[in-house]
Amino acid sequence: MKTVEEIKAAIQAAVPGAGVEFVPNPSPCAQHSLRLTPGRAVEIARFLRDDPELAFDFCSNVTGVDWLDKETSEKVKVKRTVNKTVDGVEQAVEETVEETHKHVEPGYLEAVYHLYSMAKRHGPLVIRMRTVNRTDQVELPSLTPIWRGAEFQEREVFDLYGIVFKGHPDLRRILMWDGFKDYPMRKDYVDPDDYEYEPTAHDAVLKRAQAHQAAAEK
């Protein structure tokens, strides 16, 4: 098989202007991946499947990953001029002050595809796509028109992570029931207070429910 870097070059030659980024995998198995920009992903996928040398005809595994907002803080030394009274005379004095800067890297949802070739017997090639954020822009193009095997798996990712696959022929919940509201595989999913229909009077359950009610009333 070509290396992931060579595949990246082949994609960029075949689909001009396609955004492809190499994502290294530090684990010893070295299954590196390619991150595609969602706009041209269907074209790229069709190239990967139909190119006679790559021939990734078998889309083995489709899954979602939830990456939360990442807060990083760094301490920066800043020079400031401060007016101070030194020996009874007001002067402008330079001072070094340490300030903490906080950055919030917005989280995103990611869809990961593992591709193999049954014709050439090579693989895996890992391709991934990111959504813009985790709340309102969670759309990605569906690769089900290219690989039928992604049909149920993309439905599962939609069901459990809430990624909306544009172009999917039948995007419904698959494991949870239709009236269910939340996305249970997300990292910030909160369990219901009680799994029973009628609240049971366990202390722990009651306390949790009361805390939620108090928060909701505020």
Binding site: N25, P26, S27, P28, C29, Q31, D57, F58, C59, S60, N61, T63, V65, V112, H114, M118, R121, P124, V126, P145, W147, R148, G149, A150, E151, F152, Q153, E156, L160, P169, R173, I174, L175, M176, W177, P184, M185, Y189
Partner: protein
Amino acid sequence: MSVAETKTEKLDGWNRPPTIEPGGEGELLEIAMGPHHPSTHGVFRMDVALDGERVMRLKPVFGYLHRNHEKIAEGAAYLASMPYTDRLDYFCSLSNNWAYALAVEKLVAQAVPERAQYIRVILAELTRIQNHASSIGFLIQEMGASGTPLMYAFREREKILDLFESLTGSRMMCNYMRFGGCRVDVSAAWLDAARKEVAGLPPFVDEFEALLTSNEILMARCQGVGVLKPDLAVNASVTGPLLRASGVNYDIRKVDHYGIYDRFKFRVPLGDHGDVYDRYMVRVLEMRESIRILEQALKDIPAGPIMDPKAKIRGFRPKPGEAYGRVEAPKGELGFYLISDGSPNPYRYRVRPPSLINLTILEDMCLGHNVADVVLIFGSVDIVLGEVDR
């Protein structure tokens, strides 16, 4: 099926199920097969639209057994998920163990000693034999032969489960493999018992085949039913005996050579027509090949440790990274995808369930057939609901 529906030109949308126009008069009858239909081996529903006896539409409905195994595993340490993998496909807990151990071993580049590799092969092939035997038994049971063929299969399965029980302490929930080896060593007495059992397997398969292979009813019900074309099978990520019955030569034991499968001589049986009968036949032949592997493995098994001494058991924290490991489970490609962030728990833990993905083309295979054939086609896919819903 008309010629127009079976053409293999790759037009746009060729991999979608075709729409069939109802031929008769009147409305379509919509029924829900399941979730308590006896042929579904658990809780699974098919919403079927019928024109008389013909199936016009079929939508599988999942989730009755959904436990969110993946979420539970993300909240537990790596090893703590090992017993839970038994409960995915509860017919083949040892294959599941191996798939998970393989993925973690890839994640941390863990070596496995020789003897443990042999034990894994022996157990995985025994699992394959008992799974194929009982899945054929269930298939025949659904065809209407109540009991007898299934009991023939279960008689052999009992003997294999006895072997599992004496080694791992449990008949079905074995929880046997560890990252870098196996939990307990096999004794010489166990190996002798296994050799004796394997020596008794070829007569069992012969007997099974004498009962079934040229049985007129089985041939009439199964041949030409539920045909799956190879290009659609590949495109729909179908794996396992279902794929090979369609004539695609893809066995992960041969492709990846995981474990020590490159040392054994065995053939990959392939089907010709991709119908229910071919799936039955491929399973029978795979049992014979598994017996060959078992004979070689039981002959060559070396002495030695069963656990890599460098394997880390306490404070197991893989370095950040990800790995996808897969094995040829009896039902198809079983894979585990793990992302580590350096903590004791996996950040992402994904099971690639062959049972769920093989059901993608259930509708395509059933369209145009009678309701009674749906039961057969569904049985020939060979699923376990614990793995479909996870």
